[in-house]
Symmetry: C2
Subunit: 250 residues, 2 copies
Amino acid sequence: MTLDQTPRVTDHPVRLEARPLYQQIRDLLVKRIIDGIWRPGSYLPSEQQLCTELGVSIGTIRKAMEDLVSQGILERQHGRGTQVVAHSSAQSRFRFLRFVHADGRPLDPVAHLLRQSVRNATLEERRQLELDAHEKVLVLLRTRSEAGEPLVYEKVILPAEMFARLDLKTGADISEEIYVFYQKRCGVTIMRTQDQIGLDSADAAIAEALGTKTGEPVLHVRRISFGLDGRRVEYRQSWSARLKYQTELD
Amino acid sequence: MTLDQTPRVTDHPVRLEARPLYQQIRDLLVKRIIDGIWRPGSYLPSEQQLCTELGVSIGTIRKAMEDLVSQGILERQHGRGTQVVAHSSAQSRFRFLRFVHADGRPLDPVAHLLRQSVRNATLEERRQLELDAHEKVLVLLRTRSEAGEPLVYEKVILPAEMFARLDLKTGADISEEIYVFYQKRCGVTIMRTQDQIGLDSADAAIAEALGTKTGEPVLHVRRISFGLDGRRVEYRQSWSARLKYQTELD
DNA sequence: GAGTGGTCTAGACCACCTG
DNA sequence: AGGTGGTCTAGACCACTCT
């Protein structure tokens, strides 16, 4: 973000880098969020303040911000200011929880953590999370239930170092979405996921958790989640005997 | 799009409607596309021309166009012009074909139309397509194969009137995506779909088409597709024994 | 070289929220 | 009333494409 002091007809700042100014500004804003200078939920300086601080025109700032709004990183409120998006339970559910009942009704589940452990990553897990050979993973086994009835069995694999401060309690029912804990406790914001849905047949653990028989067909969802910086931060597998997976394409 | 001739400090055109000018422009552009004034693949007038024609500034035109680009309705090419997006087979496949092989490899299938017929819509079909009681539907039964091996069995329900000019040949292998025919022959552009993925067990027709046994578990995808004007234009069900469904959320 | 979209600036005014 | 984001305008210059 450097000004060129050479006199020019319109006296523009100049792009020393090849990339457009507004993209550089955009990335600078993202960097400040990742670095924790602006935390989730807090307000950015006003457009005017950023203009003078960064020495660019307001249109350029706005264009950078619009990009981030459309990416879901910022949220603007007319008359009030611009906030870094903080994941709320309701919003995460709407955005990332794609299971619905067979008739299309939305789900409102509580999560129950069955077991957690830290161990070396398997080859598969290293590949999915792009981990080095020596890195350890935190493994969460949990169910999601509604009205006491278990509907989803889930195995969540996380890079242990990144999630050292996660500190979930085994055994308790939690209605808060886990992505909220990722953000609040570990500074990890999930921005994007890749989901793959297929058939599977229930093994003993799945059958017991979902109350079906071993070998019964179940829906299997394999998810890789990406953080603000684009790195892979979660590898999750979900199994369900009765729910459907719903999504929109555009 | 009306100019207010009252003298004002900055001599702006004025919004007689409550909605912002750029939104009115955006909707006007969409209307012209729907009305066939600008057809898929053709070029719009340049930004400058639209400015003078519509009596607004270039920034307003640009903002309207940017909206439509992000919706996938327009496509801009630097130095060349702005086009109405025409569905190509490759692009439709990338955008709307979500099946992949079990190992994640993308699919490159040919479609084979088994049977087509026109009949009254069932209650279920009327509900999914929001049709009136008397309306008829065009039913397509087809498979998608790769290397001669059938991988997907598909039942496509279309409002008969809207797709009167579709004119598909039964029995031939077609590698072109059907959405291209929708657009070219029937003027229907698919903009958005809602997909629901669940478990099913193969009935006789599915089992025969896919070469599996009746009662075997299969992946079941139920899709509703929406046109440019937001109306429901296609209700499709797909079954597959071996493929997975892959999608991204952000 | 002429024409197109892409970037960037500058400034006015409007609509909304908060004190 | 003062500050914030939202809309709209006007104009310069840049980068790309075609002929």
